[in-house]
């Protein structure tokens, strides 16, 4: 669901300030520094990072391929492992029974149960591959606007966090109040009135 697909969703942001100096080089370095990390075969359950628009499963920010016309075009990738709850339960029961048999006791302590649970989650998250989700990002640097091709809450929150970490600029989501205050060209008096607005029955 994105920029080149048949049907998509869009959230728009105002960027809180422009990047000083060489924009392309700064963006390239930022994207490379926070590129998505592969977590397959590792105990991590989630990874969030930037990826290339052109090759989202083998990110490459060499040169200025992410520059398309005046747009900076790249992707946010969220890799997440989903461990089935029933599989966790099955492994927990198996290992708990084994532990009881080894110790000859009838009950496990809270610490033992917690340790077994951690062991199960660790071993399963190493074995289970992460599912990648890619979301297109288009940054109009001159206009200080970002177009994000998703309206999913979690994806938007990850974008806002990673963008701030990477570029030290906040993304301000454009919903009615922020759009009115930041992009509608209101005078100071009108902004004061905007703040005082209350719902009016029609």
């Amino acid at each position: 669901m994105g920029l080149l697909t048949g049907s998509g969703s869009l959230t728009r942001y105002k960027v809180d300030g422009k990047i000083d100096g060489n924009v392309i080089e700064t963006v390239r370095k930022g994207l490379s520094r926070h590129v998505i990390q592969d977590i397959d075969g590792e105990p991590k359950e989630k990874s969030v990072g930037w990826t290339s628009f052109h090759t989202p499963y083998s990110p490459d920010f060499g040169g200025s391929r992410f520059l398309v016309g005046s747009y900076l075009v790249f992707g946010l990738r969220i890799d997440k492992k989903t461990i089935p709850a029933k599989l966790v339960k099955k492994r927990l029961e198996f290992l708990s029974a084994k532990r009881l048999a080894e110790t000859g006791r009838r009950f496990l302590t809270r610490d033992e149960k917690s340790m077994i649970r951690e062991q199960v989650l660790h071993s399963l998250s190493v074995k289970i591959p992460a599912t990648p989700n890619c979301y297109d990002v288009v940054w109009e640097h001159e206009k200080e606007m970002v177009h994000f091709f998703s309206t999913m809450k979690t994806a938007n929150e990850e974008l806002e966090t990673l963008f701030k970490t990477t570029f030290r600029r906040s993304l301000i989501r454009l919903f009615p109040f922020t759009a009115a205050e930041l992009t509608a060209g209101l005078s100071d008096t009108q902004k004061d009135r905007l703040h005082e607005l209350t719902p009016k029955p029609l």
């Binding site: 969703s9 016309g69 992009t183 905007l194 029609l202």
Partner: protein
């Protein structure tokens, strides 16, 4: 600037009033729509296949009315407005000449969903991607410039004396006719 979540919740009614005003404008002043986004050209806008109304009952309860279908009548929508509901989500068809866009606009978030752009050429080789991105962004911008222009028009009116003296009486007259 207010805290984001506070301002989102406190002022989401602005988005609902905007969509209700937009329906009023489409019905009563369609000639003013192209002037909202002159950069786009001669835009025609009409309601698509879905419109959602909400009315708050007391402090907690919400009553929703959903009208959907390509040829659905909007009488129940007018009835909902008469009862004090506002439009919270609307599917729109936008036309510029022969070209057609369709999308859903959500009032409280201004999210654009289920966006269908006019047909573009297939991307067959990696070299086609750059052209396709530029073409698709131009098509997305037809929607965003139109929505932004209309929202600007609404907000400028809503924060002026004209709202109470002219627009609101017209809206009320339209709803109660």
């Amino acid at each position: 600037m207010l805290d984001v979540s506070v301002s989102y919740n406190r002022y989401k009614f602005i988005g609902h009033e905007f969509l209700t005003w937009l329906w009023f404008v489409m019905e009563n002043q369609p000639d003013t729509i192209p002037s909202a986004a002159p950069s786009v050209g001669t835009v025609a806008l009409q309601i698509g296949n879905r419109i959602v109304f909400e009315r708050r009952i007391g402090n907690d309860a919400l009553e929703s009315v959903v009208i959907q279908g390509d040829d659905a009548g909007l009488e129940e929508g007018m009835l909902a407005l008469k009862k004090g509901a506002l439009v919270t989500e609307i599917n729109l068809v936008l036309r510029v000449g022969e070209w057609r866009w369709q999308f859903t606009l959500q009032g409280e978030s201004l999210h654009l969903k289920q966006i269908k752009l006019p047909e573009t050429g297939p991307v067959e080789t990696p070299d086609d991607v750059e052209g396709a991105v530029l073409e698709r962004m131009a098509l997305f911008e037809t929607i965003t410039h139109t929505v932004d222009g209309l929202f600007r028009q609404f907000v400028l009116d809503r924060t002026s004396d004209n709202w109470m003296s002219v627009t609101l009486p017209r809206l009320k007259a339209w709803i109660s006719r």
